[in-house]
Symmetry: C2
Subunit: 426 residues, 2 copies
């Protein structure tokens, strides 16, 4: 990270918009912005919820529909290798997480993949009855654990740690079967020490499942070096795969033989097109496939992964930290009087690629910002979240976003009644 | 069915191609063919594997990508109601199966939906330990049942009936918790008596789960009249939703309160955007949602369902039976000497919308037909399958397909070595 040419933390932050523009000009990642189709008049700081669209996507969908589905019809499963999309996409995703090609599969949703791997892990630790997770985990992770324990592992228990890694370590013991945590917390943006926590779990004889939804694509990840057992994540946030694009799962090669998938659908069979009525799992990562893959939803992800193949993760990480440092600096220098609390850790080793601000009026302030063209989001009850995707967000965006927030706070504009109307999703 | 203007079974079959063209001209469904983008020079008799593309699909994908994803970004989840796609698509699918709007959800894959409903059904019959299915069921159904029993219902057993409905009834008893069958068999094209089998199951105190993958969209279905408890199916065959488009599940309204989903993902929560860490299921069919829906893969299905909203199922069924009757007639009259066995029942009440021909050289014959522009498919070890989608297949297609098959058999062309090379999928 020290060799890249973006501004380092030791440099002073730009003091004006022109300084931001100059930094953007020097940004070695600058040209990647033009690989995305971003609307004019919008500063998009919600790529941690839905990544922006790679500009190549509409043409890829058109090809998939016209040349694949309409023209070749059923033959595309062979001729365009649609059948292997879960494996092919996994092979292209693997380098981003320090995985070998045969360790990653793109399929289903994060929740369903966590369910599969939870069963796999628990069956590998049959004499242990405790699952360790964290109170502030993304809810679906806790929901899936709760549901699985209720219906299929009635003798097991779930214990929840607080946010600090020490709190997690304290809960890990001789009865711990699985430790299931998020790499970056979806609310605070706090980054866990994956390697250290994994080591602590292993020393106690437990297995780990990491959820990388809020880190992969923006934070360097090396599952191999950290000796992670299992991992899951989505592809529609920093990975820009499109709304609800297929999720992924990782199984360390050393566990592939022993790990079993409870969702024994035909696509995970050793020979799905032999139409054998008795299930026999594939010997490879394909044992974690279930049903027929939603082809059209894979195509944008392949376009996005092409962009990642051309980018350097060390550069992405350096820029991400600079952007979040600068955003925090601006909030503290320009907005000090308005009662925002920076909830994201200052320590780079503990920060993902988002900044969370606590404020009791978080909802209407978020809505006023969106109307002003600055798209962040809200997490109940009192958090404003801002995601910084280094591929397409620049220093001038940080300047303009914080300037807009300053205007909204100074004018009291957020108090206008229309900003208090809650919508379904943000 | 007696009032529609297509040729009735009592009419003589056309004796020449001109007679077929005349029938096609009189076909009240004729114009629907132009709502699909079909390649020239191809007779497509594999809509029972992957339905053809509605012509409106590329524009719908373009709108979804450019106006939805790229332009509105995260706001599309609200502004374009993406969040409710599983429910909205379910509401539009419901009339095709005689369901009320709140009984159908479009989500995940058939295999995963069967897993959900199997758990729901078994938990509603806790004192019964037997699941009745059928030996020739589509493999993934049996695989899912086998896997669930192995990992979560160890004391249960699976018993398999033969193809006749009487064989199923014989196996249903006081210990039967669930009867899980396919409405139309994927190999033979045999149609089961859904109402009678459901009644027999209910009389024994059991619940039913019907798999409608190979019937819905081509065969009239009324789950309400048949008092079906649960059903699942895909949308990429007769429903033309696109490769791997999301599957659906049906839960009778009377079971919605009691039925529980083992895959307790956040989208099935009563208030997913409250981010409550404790799972509390939705009170509606949404309790069977799991993760974030793959938006782009839903858009083609909505276009296809618009076509179905304009078609009469009684007309579709009448034409389907006429086409399959005519195909069987042509095989028996033109191809009698070549050893094909018609495996599909002659009785209309027992026939879906496909014809299966048994032949020991089924593989190379299928390949030679595909090269000649007639796309059917092969099912191991010895079946040629031909699906007749009444929306876009005509009488002239039947004539030309059987003429091509006759040429291939008379010339012995199928013996050419290139036709014996097996591919991954057909």
């Amino acid at each position: 990270m020290t060799e890249v040419t973006v501004a380092q933390a030791s440099e002073p932050f730009p003091a004006d918009r022109a300084g931001c523009e100059a930094l953007d000009q020097r940004d070695p990642l600058r040209d990647f912005r033009f690989r995305f189709d971003l609307p004019s008049g919008v500063i998009y700081l919600d790529g941690n919820s839905l990544g922006a669209m790679p500009a190549a996507v509409p043409a890829a969908l058109e090809r998939g529909a016209r040349n694949g589905w309409a023209e070749r019809l059923i033959r595309s499963w062979n001729e365009l290798d649609w059948h292997n999309l879960p494996v092919r996409a996994g092979e292209r995703l693997a380098p981003l997480m320090g995985a070998a090609p045969g360790e990653v599969l793109v399929a289903d949703t994060t929740s369903i993949n966590l369910y599969k791997l939870l069963f796999a892990a628990l069956q590998m630790r049959p004499d242990r009855k405790t699952i360790v997770s964290e109170r502030n985990n993304f809810p679906t992770d806790l929901h899936i654990l709760q549901g699985a324990l209720k219906t299929s592992f009635a003798g097991h228990r779930l214990v929840l740690a607080e946010d600090d890694d020490d709190g997690v370590r304290t809960l890990i013991g001789a009865d711990t079967a699985v430790v299931c945590l998020s790499h970056v917390n979806y609310r605070s943006g706090r980054l866990r020490d994956m390697k250290a926590v994994t080591k602590a779990a292993h020393e106690a004889g437990a297995l780990v499942i990491w959820d990388l939804c809020h880190s992969l694509g923006a934070v360097p990840v090396d599952l191999g070096v950290a000796e992670v057992d299992f991992a899951v994540g989505c592809t529609y946030k920093y990975l820009n795969g499109g709304p609800g694009s297929p999720a992924w799962l990782y199984v360390a090669a050393r566990h592939l033989q022993q790990a079993t998938n409870p969702l024994t659908g035909w696509q995970g069979h050793a020979a799905p097109f032999a139409f054998d009525i008795n299930y026999a799992p594939a010997a490879t990562i394909e044992k974690f496939r279930v049903g027929t893959p939603p082809v059209l939803s894979y195509l944008p992800l392949l376009e996005s992964l092409q962009i990642f193949a051309e980018a350097e993760m060390t550069q992405l990480r350096a820029k991400s930290l600079q952007l979040t440092d600068f955003f925090i600096h601006r909030v503290e220098s320009e907005l000090a009087e308005f009662g925002f609390e920076v909830l994201t850790p200052r320590d780079h080793d503990e920060r993902g690629s988002q900044v969370a601000l606590g404020h009791e009026q978080a909802w209407p302030i978020t809505q006023a910002l969106i109307e002003a063209g600055v798209i962040g989001d809200f997490r109940a009850p009192d958090i404003l979240r801002f995601g910084f995707t280094p591929l397409y967000v620049g220093y001038t965006d940080v300047w303009d976003a914080t300037a807009a927030l300053t205007t909204i706070m100074r004018s009291g504009q957020w108090r206008e009644p229309r900003f208090s109307v809650k919508k379904l999703v943000t």
